[in-house]
């Protein structure tokens, strides 16, 4: 028992170490997903701000944007790639466990998401004059880091269901439409009413509303509704990911 636990931990540390090294050795993949959110945020919060409240408002929404990139692309494209090349099949016959493969990816994604969010906080705090209490900064960071999970599940489903080429396209479509339609780039209030209602179907909208409420920038009242929806969405995504996982195992 103890022996098998040690084996799993060892497998996990090796997997996660390799995952991180891969990202450092092939930075052309991870860099854009790290740089784009902070570049966008700098542009809209400090260079062309739309109002005095836009920097703190956009901080809440761009934080969600920042974690979405590493999650959707890190999982969607890389899992599809590794599956396509037969790497996953090889893993299944190796002593490595499937759990440690996923866990390694989740944790390395969390690390990259942290850097992405941190870079935006730095711009917000030191260039855009955003100031919150310590507790608010900390809870906002928690919300943003937790936001990574629904997107990881989406990325995993893409990775399990699509081949490498399709995964690039699908990831991009989801990434861009979630960002734009969920109100991550531009405040949701400026959308026409029909688009505002549509946003309720997107996890990005609910996550950014929770972040907005936590940062008290433009709380839309009660966040329990958003928490409930995100909970249900995450559960459904977990279910669909499990289905996709078993589908790819059987194919």
């Amino acid at each position: 028992m103890n022996n098998s636990f040690n084996r799993t931990m060892r497998s996990f540390f090796l997997e996660s170490g390799a995952e991180i090294l891969k990202s450092f050795r092939a930075p052309e993949f991870i860099l854009p997903t790290l740089l784009m959110p902070v570049a966008f945020y700098t542009l809209f919060a400090t260079i062309v701000p739309m109002g005095p409240e836009s920097a703190p408002y956009l901080l809440a929404t761009y934080g969600v944007f920042a974690v979405m990139g590493p999650a959707i692309f890190g999982f969607g494209i890389s899992v599809a790639n590794e599956r396509d090349k037969g790497w996953l099949a090889l893993k299944r016959v190796s002593p490595a466990t499937g759990g440690s493969y996923i866990a390694a990816k989740v944790l390395s994604t969390l690390i990259f998401a942290s850097f992405s969010v941190a870079s935006i906080y730095l711009v917000a705090g030191f260039a855009a004059d955003v100031s919150f209490t310590r507790a608010t900064w900390a809870s906002l960071l928690m919300i943003h880091l937790f936001s990574v999970f629904p997107f990881i599940l989406i990325g995993l489903s893409i990775g399990f269901l699509c081949n490498a080429n399709a995964a690039v396209a699908v990831s991009n479509i989801l990434f861009l439409s979630f960002s734009a339609l969920g109100g991550l780039w531009i405040p949701i209030m400026v959308f026409p009413p029909a688009m505002q209602s549509f946003a309720h179907f997107l996890p990005t909208y609910h996550l950014s509303e929770i972040a907005l409420a936590v940062s008290q920038t433009s709380g839309q009242g009660d966040i329990s509704y958003h928490l409930l929806v995100i909970g249900v969405m995450t559960a459904l995504l977990a279910l669909s990911t499990a289905l996709a996982w078993s589908k790819q195992r059987n194919s």
């Binding site: 060892r10 540390f13 090796l14 996660s16 170490g17 390799a18 995952e19 991180i20 090294l21 109002g51 005095p52 409240e53 703190p56 390694a104 944790l107 390395s108 690390i111 942290s114 850097f115 941190a118 906080y121 730095l122 917000a124 705090g125 030191f126 004059d129 955003v130 100031s131 919150f132 209490t133 310590r134 900064w137 900390a138 960071l141 209030m189 400026v190 409420a213 008290q216 920038t217 433009s218 709380g219 839309q220 009242g221 009660d222």
Partner: protein
């Protein structure tokens, strides 16, 4: 090695996140960090009204945004800047208990010594940012804002006509959630509109109004009401309202009413300034008229002061309102000073000074009027550190050249304004150098593309529409040949403008503009010129000319004209444009709207003569 990569990276990441969270700026750290040194003032030998009483002669030391010391025996520290003068009087920064603080209202108010605004209806966006802003002691050019956010009204009711999204109520059951939403959107108190028994505009019914008051109290918020009749005021007081933000001017308060008000402890913000404007009353007999002709008035202030409500509305009699203020005050009902700026006939900042004069004419003593704009609202709205000048209070103060206890209009004779311990620049920002313009051609469209059309130096032609203000209208411009002149003629070019005006912004527009719209803004002095003329034809209808000035941020001076399908020359007299500032002309636009629809016109030979 590889097996240590993850634990090390994870550890470093968590560590860095921890460091980040503890180094990001918080409201408190900003306060101390950005407090520039040398903002220490020593006010020597001044008369002090501290919010409640008078000290004939004292010194005041202002340091780090706060009142550090007060007393006749304190010494001037070497680094403190000395402020002294003959017969200077220091009063707390004034509190206006009824405003609508959008646009330039907050900065205009501050230049007149009004350092705190209690907004009674406005957009809720930005309230959170204002909350952070008002806690700081930084140098600022804005008055601090407390706000009701939006107001409680019904669909189509008072408050819904201004183009701001208003979350309306239908029935008493809506009240609890509605108040919860206000609280979540950072409202500081609740305002409701209760104007029953009239057929001009729908209003909350009594049951819903009562439910709003109860929900506000349940959630620890004060409830205030907009009323216009004695009956409505009585019903609100019986329902437990905390304050009424206008004085009714339809009938004189009865004995019973005064007794009821006194017994419940309700306060009034009479807003005599705006009642005077609705009533078209001649207030010149009450006012020293000093602040109204003040050189520090911005274009916006002059614009709203000179504006009027237009058609007379029944039931607003200034003399009745003043009688009521006098009666209620005499029986000990608290009266708070509020101006309802920037409604037509009032202007941010200066109207609070004239409100004080009106209150004095209604029966308050000079010192009571000062209390009504300082410690009294601070007490009722729990504005800690404001409205009083004591050791540790926020250094928001007005230094007067004259004694306001002897003459209330002396509040308008301002020596200087101090906000958060910093002296406020009272003069209006200078705009870029202006050159005097003689008659000139703004565009004949003979050559090239719109952006390079020949015009004044620094001016260019382009399309303009309300999409820059998040509206939905669109416009296109292109150079075309005139169909009525030979191509060889030197007058063959014209500008074709087309587009569609769509609802989506309170004052939609679309058309073509010429001028300087991006900083550094180039402006010209056109005070020697009399008319604007141009040739135009197009889809028949009404169009407008708007004039721009770099120091004007609200609705620009506008004049309408009509277009037919045949070429005609339109000539508009510049003096007819309301609130035009001819010394600082930075451009104009010829536009369709505000009524929605498609339009097109062709324009040529735009001249100023």
């Amino acid at each position: 090695m590889i097996k240590y990569t993850f634990p090390i990276t994870a550890f470093v990441t968590v560590l860095l996140l921890g460091v980040l969270i503890f180094s990001l700026p918080t409201p408190e750290t900003e306060q101390t960090n950005s407090m520039d040194a040398g903002t220490s003032y020593f006010l020597k030998n001044v008369k002090l009204f501290d919010g409640t009483g008078v000290v004939e002669q004292t010194h005041i030391l202002v340091e780090n945004g706060l009142i550090a010391k007060i007393g006749i025996d304190i010494k001037q520290p070497p680094k403190a800047q000395l402020i002294t003068g003959k017969e200077l009087m220091v009063i707390p920064g004034l509190i206006d208990a009824h405003t609508h603080s959008y646009g330039s209202v907050l900065s205009d108010a501050l230049r007149f010594g009004v350092t705190t605004h209690l907004d009674m209806f406005g957009p809720e966006q930005g309230l959170a940012a204002n909350k952070v802003h008002r806690q700081k002691l930084n140098k600022t050019d804005r008055t601090d804002l407390f706000s009701a956010g939006t107001l409680a009204t019904v669909e189509g009711g008072h408050g819904t006509q201004y183009g701001i999204t208003v979350d309306t109520l239908v029935m008493p059951e809506d009240a609890e959630q509605w108040v919860k939403d206000r609280k979540a959107n950072d409202a500081d108190y609740i305002k409701l509109v209760y104007i029953p028994n009239q057929n001009r505009i729908p209003s909350l019914d009594l049951a819903t109004a009562k439910a709003v008051i109860k929900s506000a109290h349940d959630q620890d918020l004060k409830a205030l009401a907009h009323i216009s009749t004695q009956q409505a005021a009585k019903e609100m007081i019986e329902a437990g309202i905390d304050g009424l933000v206008h004085m009714f001017a339809d009938s004189e308060a009865t004995e019973e009413f005064v007794a009821l008000a006194k017994q419940t402890g309700v306060f009034f913000v009479p807003t005599l300034s705006v009642i005077a404007s609705v009533d078209n009353a001649d207030t010149s007999k009450f006012l020293s008229a000093q602040s109204i002709s003040d050189p520090f008035l911005s274009m916006e202030q002059q614009g709203s002061l000179n504006a009027s409500f237009g058609n007379e509305i029944h039931g607003f009699d200034l003399s009745i309102a003043m009688t009521n203020v006098g009666k209620l005050h005499q029986h000990g009902v608290p009266i708070l000073a509020g101006s309802d700026v920037p409604n037509p006939g009032t202007a941010a900042g200066c109207s609070l000074h004239t409100e004080l004069e009106l209150l004095v004419h209604a029966g308050l003593s000079n010192i009571e009027a000062l209390i009504a704009a300082t410690s009294l609202p601070a007490n009722y709205f729990q504005l800690d550190g404001r409205g009083k000048l004591a050791i540790g209070s926020r250094a928001d103060l007005v230094i007067l050249n004259q004694d306001a206890i002897a003459d209330i209009s002396a509040t308008q004779n301002i020596h200087s304004v101090v906000k958060n311990g910093h002296l406020i620049e009272r003069t209006l920002p200078e705009t870029a150098e202006t050159s005097v313009l003689e008659h000139t051609l703004l565009g004949d469209f003979e050559l090239a593309e719109p952006a390079t059309f020949k015009s004044l130096q620094g001016f260019s032609w382009s399309q303009t529409d309300d999409s820059i203000a998040n509206g939905k209208s669109t416009a296109w411009v292109k150079r075309v040949d005139r169909d009525d002149v030979a191509e060889s003629s030197s007058n063959s070019g014209a500008l074709h403008v087309s587009g569609e005006v769509r609802a989506g912004f309170p004052y939609p527009w679309a058309g073509a503009s010429v001028g300087s719209f991006a900083p550094p803004i180039k402006s010209y002095d056109i005070s020697d010129l009399r008319t604007l003329s141009f040739d135009i034809k197009g889809q028949a209808g009404n169009y407008r000319v708007m004039l721009f000035s770099p120091d004007y941020k609200g609705i620009p001076p506008t004049l309408g004209f009509s277009v037919s399908e045949n070429w005609q020359t339109i000539s508009l007299t510049l003096a007819d444009f309301p609130t035009i500032n001819p010394k600082n002309f930075s451009g104009l636009a010829i536009v369709a709207g505000p009524q929605p629809g498609k339009f097109e016109y062709t324009l040529d030979n735009v001249r100023l003569n």
